[in-house]
Each structure stands twice: as structure tokens, then as C-alpha cells.
Amino acid sequence: MALDQSFVGRSYPSPEPYLVSREKIREFADAIGDQNPAYRSVDAARGLGHPDVIAPPTFAVIVTSRASAQVVFDPELGLDYSRVVHGEQSFSYARPVRAGDRLVAVTTVEKIRSAAGNDLLTLSCALATAEGEPVATVRSVVVARGTAAGEG
């Protein structure tokens, strides 16, 4: 069954603010095997003009995927999570994520469509500090394989 188009435009409030720590940034950098000192040394980050260590470009997904889970697991929407794969991902930054940030992410359902028997859901997360400074727009497309069968 195709997903309900009336969800397009619906927004989900941010979970509790996510506090970005130097240790979490370093753990993430270790996991992606990236030795860049901007992720590890406050002095190196300051040398580049940042007030504290910054996070790798894809780090924000930790925060936004937690926010988007509300949509993906919304029983009213009825997405079959066992069939979900990640189709696309993009980040557009106003500034890098950095240690000390308290981040909030408001998720909006941007688009719902069916293609080749799959349901495609486009989510847009507005990432900002809890104080209201915009940080990034993070878009993802999740694909539920085979769930739109019979859509014609």
C-alpha cells in the first residue's frame, strides 16, 4: 500500500537537545579512520579559526537520524522498517558542528512518492542550536523496498 500523501508537510518536534562532546567527535573520527587534527585538537581547530574542535561533515546524521526516527517509526505513517534502505543523504551547512553545541533537529516530511514498486520518503531536518542558530539542513531519502506494489 502506498504511503499516505497527507503526511507531506508534517513536522515532528525535536527530541531533547543533543550535547556534542569532544569525546564523541573523536570517537566518530576514529570510527571513520580520520586523523584530521581539527576533530581532535582544540589548538588545531583554533588555528583554523574555530572556537573548539569541529565534527566531520557527516557527524550530524547522529543527531538527525534520532529526530527522523519519529517519522520512520510513526505507526500512523506505517512505513515497513524491515524493508527500509537508505537511498540518499545530503548536508548543507551554515557552519560546522562543534564541541559544546546543543543541537535540536526539527524533521519535516518533504516528499512522498512511489517508483518501481518502492515507497520513497524524503525527510528534511533543520539542525540548529538550542539557542536558535541555524547549523545545517540535512536531507535523507529512505526507500521501503517493494511496499508500493499494486500502485500500478
Partner: protein, 142 residues
């Protein structure tokens, strides 16, 4: 922001230094822990093959993060990557051996933009298959 590459030094067609990233099971386990993505298809062969995958596959976001290294190592300051987007076109199977998979990533400037920014297109392959589609970034140069 402190990009080390000058806008005046690049043109359409400028190649970014290519890099190769080995992906072994341990890297997937580390990424699962750091990211909180514990989907079983990234660590359990039995679960992966039961849904039709050839083996455990790398997280798409891990592939995307590794590919970004070609951008951030080139430009110096990771914050110079102001836009970055990909499509996940093919999974990257990571066998349970000492070699794992090898992700090979290259990049090329495809457009000169305003405000000393450039568009870069990345090519990411594993075992000869293109694993990312429309892998594009906007990078702020000096």
C-alpha cells in the same frame, strides 16, 4: 575557516588526490557503535543473506564519510565542505576475512561557483562497482 587551496589555483577538471579506504568488519563494528546504527545487515551475515544481500554490507553513511576524506584532506579545513550529498546506488559487501573491501574514491572540480566556491564530483567504487551516485560537494576555497 581556513582552506589551504586557492580558488585561483583550480579550474574545471582539476583532480583531487584519489584515496583508497580498506573496510574490514572491525570498521563496521566501530561505525555502528559510534553512530548508533545497529542495523543487523551491517554485522550479521545470517541476517544480511536472509534479506538477499551477498554478505554483511557497510553502512552507507560510513561509505559517505570515507568518501568525504578526499574533500577534507584536499581543502585542509573540513568546515570548507559546505554542501555534500550522495545517492547510495550499490551496497558495499564486506567479507569476514583479513582483507575486507576496498573503497576507491577520486574527485574532480566540475564547476566554478561564486564567492570562491567550487563544485566537486566524487567517484566511489568498490570491486569495480560504482557505489555512490551523484556524489557532489560544494567547497569553499581561499
Amino acid at each position: 575557516m581556513a582552506a589551504t587551496i586557492a580558488y585561483s589555483s583550480v579550474e574545471v577538471g582539476t583532480e583531487l588526490p584519489a584515496q583508497s579506504f580498506p573496510l574490514r568488519r572491525v570498521n563496521l563494528v566501530m561505525y555502528a557503535g559510534a553512530s548508533g546504527d545497529f542495523n543487523v545487515i551491517h554485522w550479521n551475515s545470517r541476517a544480511a543473506t536472509s534479506v538477499g544481500l551477498p554478505d554483511v554490507i557497510a553502512h552507507g553513511m560510513l561509505t559517505m564519510a570515507e568518501a568525504a576524506r578526499v574533500l577534507t584532506d584536499w581543502v585542509g579545513d573540513p568546515a570548507a565542505v559546505v554542501e555534500y550529498g550522495v545517492r547510495f546506488t550499490r551496497p558495499v559487501p564486506v567479507p569476514d576475512d583479513d582483507t575486507g573491501a576496498l573503497l576507491e574514491v577520486s574527485g574532480r572540480v566540475t564547476e566554478l561557483l561564486q564567492d570562491r566556491r567550487v563544485r566537486v564530483e566524487l567517484t566511489a567504487t568498490a570491486a569495480g562497482d560504482k557505489v555512490l551516485g551523484q556524489a557532489r560537494a560544494v567547497v569553499q576555497l581561499a
